[in-house]
Symmetry: D4
Subunit: 164 residues, 8 copies
């Protein structure tokens, strides 16, 4: 948690924290200031509206919203702000995240949500997408992304060598 966050990681419940922390860890790696918020489109609609409306004025550039079941959190926030909202579908119901994927990913025309992978891979990718967005106007972030990609490739090569 830092001062003047650029990214807000929002989730519907503290039980989503172990998954959504992967988004936080990744942002930390890139030195991007973030905050973590628990709010619920269903159980705390006013708080969610309040969050959505104040996000941009508070200087938030990107929202990452993780939710499961009929996941409305990302869509409800997206409907009330014009900054990019990234949705992470969570596999917390017996349907293993298919419900959340379709409840987030099939937004009707007019209000976009940038949906990523279900679960932990999605939490990480949401953070990387946020960094890519921020890097458009931040050359040092762009360099870090290039370096991150270089490391990813190097890791793969390392594993390949080790296998042999």
């Amino acid at each position: 948690m830092t001062i003047n966050p650029q990214v807000s990681i929002v989730m519907g419940s503290d039980s989503d924290l172990p998954v959504m922390e992967d988004a936080a860890k990744t942002l930390k790696e890139f030195g991007v200031a973030y905050e973590m918020i628990i709010t619920s489109a269903h159980r705390a609609p006013e708080m969610t509206t309040d969050f959505a409306k104040k996000a941009a004025p508070r200087g938030i550039k990107v929202v990452i919203a993780g939710a499961g079941y009929s996941a409305h959190l990302a869509g409800v926030i997206a409907a009330q702000t014009v900054i990019p909202v990234i949705g992470v579908p969570l596999a917390v119901s017996p349907l293993q995240g298919v419900d959340a994927l379709l409840a987030m990913g099939q937004m009707p025309s007019g209000i976009p949500v940038a949906t990523v992978t279900i679960g932990k891979a999605g939490a990480k990718n949401a953070a990387l997408l946020a960094v890519e967005i921020l890097a458009l106007s931040d050359g040092s972030l762009q360099k870090k992304l290039v370096e991150y990609r270089r490391k990813l490739a190097a890791e793969v090569k390392g594993k390949n060598r080790k296998l042999k």
Copy 2:
């Protein structure tokens, strides 16, 4: 459309009207006063919040909400009122309503939506469910429901006789 509606039929777009009119027709048959509203959880969130908050004070007893894609309309309204909300998933995307069914029907714990069948059958059933709810405190409606059921059975028998 009548004075002092008890049921509010809400839909996200005028393109949903041909399906949702089946709800209206059924309510009319039962003599239940209703209104039809177009509002969108995504494109008109304030109007939707306003609708949800004023529904009960205005005397609305039951909300029927039809929506397609990542259908949030029923859930967003349900989160902001304590009167029963019935959701009708609409088959308007290439996924034929599976998206709307899961986006409406898999509500997380705390805020219920009474989900019915996808499409026209659902619009009619939503109205019948609303009538069943209203009939709990309206003996004449209860009689009409019993009569309706009697007719349904008679119709089946009639078709059966005709087949023979």
Copy 3:
């Protein structure tokens, strides 16, 4: 279990009890009198018919029916009463409740079932929906619902504060 139940919680087997108890607990919290019944549309069809026909005369206002697999319990009861029937699809087969969801939620036109979320979240939401229905003619219940929602929102806020 209390005298003069208003809500009947019905399930197909005692193995469904751990899930359906969440409906009971929630009704208890709201002070709504309920009963719990085991009956099976398939293994005990006469008992089910008997239950369905006597429910309204006995003063039952809402039925909550939980079932898994090709879940017929809610639909079979709904076909034989005109009080609202809420269906809770249970994730007890290898298909994780998709079968029960479609077997309950896609009722043909004429006989509505108010389907809620698969599993425990659904059991709780079924109870809340029942309370919402009963609250239409019970001002004190309506107040309790409003208070419940207030608590839900406060809980979210509390968790959010704790996170920070």
Copy 4:
């Protein structure tokens, strides 16, 4: 339609007739006496119970039940008779019969339904399955089945020759 039917073809609505007639045609080809019945587990539950209970005493040996949506017809009949019930899932909802397939085919333990293919192929196969069952105690039917299979194979060979 003939006297002393051995097979009863049941369907929920006259709109299912164009599909279920394929079952009738096939039974006719085999000279098996059948009847066609319209009854609905949901809209005419008493008629359905009455049908199910009297089927065996009336001399019916096999029931073929076609239904769509949350198709309960086969299961409800199967629960009230001990003669074999064959279910034909119909593709009449936007979900193209997946709902009917799971609502029929995932019967809980204790009450079997013999589910066949969705739609027209299923109606025909249901009739063939009924003939196979009846043929167990009818040598002439068994011969007809062997002959039918011989013709199927010959047809394939004929088409293959024509292709060349």
Copy 5:
């Protein structure tokens, strides 16, 4: 395992035994002579063809075939005999039996397979369906089935009483 089996329980692998034994147990309860066979449509096609062709001549009346993945066993046997073949889809792949259900249950027109529920519930129901078929020409079996149904209902009532 008994002399002169009437039902043949076939499975693709000995790993399917723990599920398919439920079919055997149920047949035993009804005093129906059965055999258990391991053969594979894929790994032992000649043995399977041989089994299918000799089943009827050996006096087998009904085949129960359990298989997982792209389950062909039931269909391949059904294609080579005119006695009824019941298919039990097994949930042994990561797709939890959806693959087996569709590979068995969607037989093309001409060759029927009587598909039952995925997994253990299906194994039991397959046996009950076999008994229902055999009971058509065996009055004592029919009585046992009626008695079995009576017990099922009594069990439900017993559980219901215990709950109270």
Copy 6:
């Protein structure tokens, strides 16, 4: 098509044009310079790699990639650039876009794709998401977005009035 495009709309085939044009129309409305490119991850891999690597150096800020079937286009581009890539799954195979949705939307950890709705709604939302991203460093675009949202809401209100 304009000089110095900020957004590149890429698609696998000219047959995708009627859908992807909705992205172009929306960008035009917002005055955002864009280009349209046909390239295929499968049929023209070198061209795609070349496109991906040169996109950022050419000044492209956001890529919108539409593809159907096992849609790899968005992922393959995303793997070779660090600017945000938005994926539009197209409903061009018999699976109605479920294949493209999962082939785009379930990216493994490390390389994000911002997936939007299947089909035309997705093409439009992809453009809006691109505008939201660009607006982070372009105040006039942000104003246009706020104005666009205002119009969306007004349109809903207009339709609602007309309905009454």
Copy 7:
């Protein structure tokens, strides 16, 4: 149709011809001798076994099998030959080929089927895969494949230029 075919295109019915002809056309383009066969795993099992057993001795190198519904054709052939079998799932049932995809593509361990895309795209790809296999020991075919790929890429470039 030519002398000494290397590839055998097999299908279950003449109604599959319009799709499977795409495989034939592609083989023709590459100058690969092929034959077209109608046989059915279900309706003509002996013919299918006969085909499978004689394919390799007759000089067939690769089998392409197209089938719909519970598509067993590819698997049944694969079980009776050790030459590669390519399966093309056909979208001919109401389930749009999902049934055929899983009935072909989820072969149990021991007998492989090389499954390709559902429908026409799959028929073409099956032929290309067959050519790739044959090209392993035919340098001129390999050159044609490289040329084909060059043309595919050129076509994409041509369409891209035309778009501009």
Copy 8:
């Protein structure tokens, strides 16, 4: 791992090794020289392109590529080589391999991937398919395949005897 490998087993991560080793074991049994490679279409695109382009020149005859999530590995390699590529969808995401199956198996027209079963059964079948392909020009391999099939059948018979 041997000199002059004919088959290359490629996977996206070392975590895929426990599944993909089944391919290696099977190739070993057949005495087919193979190599194992870790490379990622997403995290190491250049390495993957390099691998794909050099595979054929290095003497690789068949590529087996295992990947999960939006599995692009097989398709990306297939797009850059004209030797056969076999795809093994891995069940590593919450969707249990459905995502990988559709991301691999629904390749658009022009670039084939030979997709096999999800998971371990697929890894083994991929190896067997590779052997079948290689056996087309290697009589000793063909004999081993025939012998392998004989053993498979013998194993089934052995298990059947043991059961009795």
